[in-house]
Symmetry: D2
Subunit: 281 residues, 4 copies
């Protein structure tokens, strides 16, 4: 696995070239791809050349966001499918290997099984289209009870459920996005990660939690930097990820608005250091 | 439909003969069967004679409790099945036509679909055994969020889910137990009851809710007598039940410990009056 | 219900204007819509005017074919969705109310449940897109064993399965296409049709079967005109359809190449007569 | 894995003590347990002593038959559950570790999903009861098309389906019984066995097929001894089983009535030799 600079996940408004420069400067092993930037390069050829230059600087790609919603109205889904091939072509040209999205853990109207069928429908179509393009898909489950309990019908909010959805889709190019924060808030342990292989994991996030809240009080959008509070057993988490033989990107996504107010080099030096600790632990 | 005296649901410690006497005195149309009392009569013949005497007094039977858990360990389920035929024989001898149970709306370990498969497993076996004995089964879903949100994995807590479970069981002798309290706390309306027929409803409970709590704050075990507070649209509820052509028992289950401290005739006169209002509304 | 002239189902190469003229001449109540012809009219306005003229001549529309495959590769499905809105717009402009497709009753690779999930995926997306356009969808199940047993994994080949697929899709604008030939070859009886309503049936086909073959030997593409052999209990079938309150189109689809060699007016007079008998029976 | 003498599978009417003697004489590594014989020993203690003596002679146990039907009426299932604990106690006392049963691959009435739910219901209860007793369960899928196509609704007839049923049961003590004959008639290859581990396989059967029938013409109850005709790729099959790290019993089940007419020592010497070849290949 390698430390990945995801400016978006850090809440830092960095443009793509700047993110690349900073990733190199602060010893990250990867950086998020930027499909909008790629599109702006004007040709598949230009995207390939840009990607080659990024690789030359020692960086791999993190994962791209999936531009297709797995829930919502069918017309929204349909319209997203119309545009999908062009985006996938750019990502392939850049050598990106995976996209990711998260699963909304509740619904006001759709019962669990109805929502399952909705997600399974969309997932199976999208997964096959990505497989045709040689791309993998990562699904992130969301753990905090303060989130999944806010609407009438809770949905997937544990690793086991996410893995069953993936298994039922029959897709071999879909895996999970593991975030220590969701793993902790879902009440999971290292044991729950046992048996995972590199093929099962598409991306990894490392975050810590606040000390002044119980597990069920933690908020999805108010986390801490890894190793900050020690609330989450990051050593157990990363050991399990290593045990799985995971080879992909590892990033930080703390939802701390304060980061955007600090000097960016200070933030990135700190984040890079924390990721290095997590990876080498 | 007819007003049914369920001493247990009222929290009144009445023995079976007393309950029958009081049901007659206060113009109830039915009374709960008591399998333990039946067993104590010593023979199927004696049970039939007792039941004939009860019918003679103008009373029908409410529903009996299902003596088989739909969740829990397989060995508990197995042991309950061993004893089931004897109980069913007594109920048949008495002319009882239906049993009922409720569905626990959450689980600490079992994910929704795992819990679904558990309940479906047990339900399909039990439903067929009851069908063999000419008996129906009612399933009650539980609405209060203060209940279903207390463990890690919420389960069935709406009419639509209960009906889908029943449909998937393939059993034609299973229906729902409708309780206005669950209907209200589940956020349901008369529209949700549309399309139900007498075959879909096995028993009906009429309760009201506290005024000082929002819908999502209501507690499962702290309700009010029907028409007491007006929080729940009982007119809409009973109109829909009538529209379904429902012919079975209607009872009150307020979980108000204070009732046991009042003169029993006062309580039953009041309850009977409220049920009569609901039925004739 | 009304007799519908479907030239395609009869194997007659009639262009759309000719089909309309012949439908009028032979007292049909409806005729198949022709999206290709509609598209050739050049504008939505022209389609509306054409449809008004057809209505003026006393004809309703049969159903259009669904231009989206419910199985096959995801890319084929995606491409069909790109083009779907334009077709739906034409159909709406013409006042067409329903589309239909059949379900392939076997697969060489996909196991039953895998194939179910595939069809459910596609169906739920398509049904919602059609619902947005105010259109219904009919699914036809295929009965002959000589067809469903020809590949490794048989799939839906009975009414009950088709109805469960529709129910699980959650779509209220999807119903079945009932064909007496599939009903007979599936070993179904009038009892299997009990409980259906007009909302459950999108289109009806009336055909008879050969006398020299047992039920399980009948071939999907070698049938007989209704009331020709009496092998199929068409009176029982149409009585059940009438009992359901069905109001839509009824057509004949005999797969008899010989029809194309006979004078078209003879064929249509005969077919019209047979449909009239079925409808009024 | 070890060669197991299953007199029943060979169609030989050997009593239990004789089977043990012959297993030793012909170098089998195991022999089928005989619950009826165990019961006849009169006490759990006597069963333990008998088992110790068998072990002393160098034999392990094959698997016992599951005395509970996974289909059929609920009352039959219930009655079998009443008696189950006594049988499981004898098997445990003997040190038997697994039971097995096969899945009927078709049904005249139950549609695939209905039948799936039936089997899943029964399987989940039985698997948990066996797990409580420290026992595993093996499920055998049946491959021949001449069998699964004989009723209206084909059911599980491939390894993938059997494994999905097991996975959905959530039971960790259930695996498959692999029979080269079913593997061949199901059109499966070594690739289909890839990824299996010892935990996934409960028992293995090695059989060959007739040369004068195509794959789809093979009859379930008319097979050949392993390596007899070479129709089935037994080397590929056993290599895949070995690759899985399988440690359990391997037996022959040819359904050849002729075997019972030959000298038993000749038959067993031959069978033992063939199993040794399969195991060591």
């Amino acid at each position: 696995m390698f430390a990945n600079l995801s400016a978006g996940a850090l809440g830092l408004p960095l443009d793509h070239p700047t993110a690349i420069d900073l990733a190199v400067r602060h010893d990250f092993g990867g950086v998020d791809p930027d499909p909008t930037y790629f599109a702006g390069l004007g040709s598949v050829q230009a995207v390939s050349e840009h990607a080659a230059a990024v690789r030359e600087r020692g960086l791999s790609w993190g994962i791209a966001g999936l531009p297709v919603p797995l829930d919502g109205p069918a017309e929204t889904f349909r319209a997203a499918l119309v545009d999908l091939p062009a985006t996938l072509e750019l990502l392939r040209a850049a050598g990106v290997t995976a996209l990711g999205t998260w699963v909304r853990p509740m619904h006001e109207e759709l019962r669990y099984r109805e929502n399952w069928r909705l997600h399974l429908s969309r997932l199976s179509v999208v997964a096959e289209l990505l497989a045709d393009a040689g791309l993998r898909l990562g699904l992130e489950y969301i753990g905090p009870k303060t989130f999944w309990s806010t609407e009438r019908f809770p949905f997937i909010h544990s690793l086991r459920e996410a893995r069953e959805l993936i298994a039922e889709s029959g897709a071999s190019n879909v895996g999970v996005i593991l975030d220590s924060y969701h793993w902790y808030t879902a009440g999971e342990s290292a044991e729950d990660l046992a048996g995972l292989t590199d093929a099962d994991i598409v991306s990894v996030d490392i975050n810590d939690a606040r000390t002044d809240r119980s597990r069920d009080e933690q908020q999805d959008l108010d986390r801490r930097l890894p190793f900050d509070t020690g609330v989450i057993d990051l050593d157990g988490f990363t050991a399990a990820v290593r045990e799985a033989g995971y080879t992909g990107p590892v990033k930080v996504e703390p939802f701390m608005p304060s980061l955007a107010k600090e000097p960016v080099d200070d933030v990135l030096a700190d984040v890079s250091h924390r990721l290095a600790r997590a990876i080498s632990a």
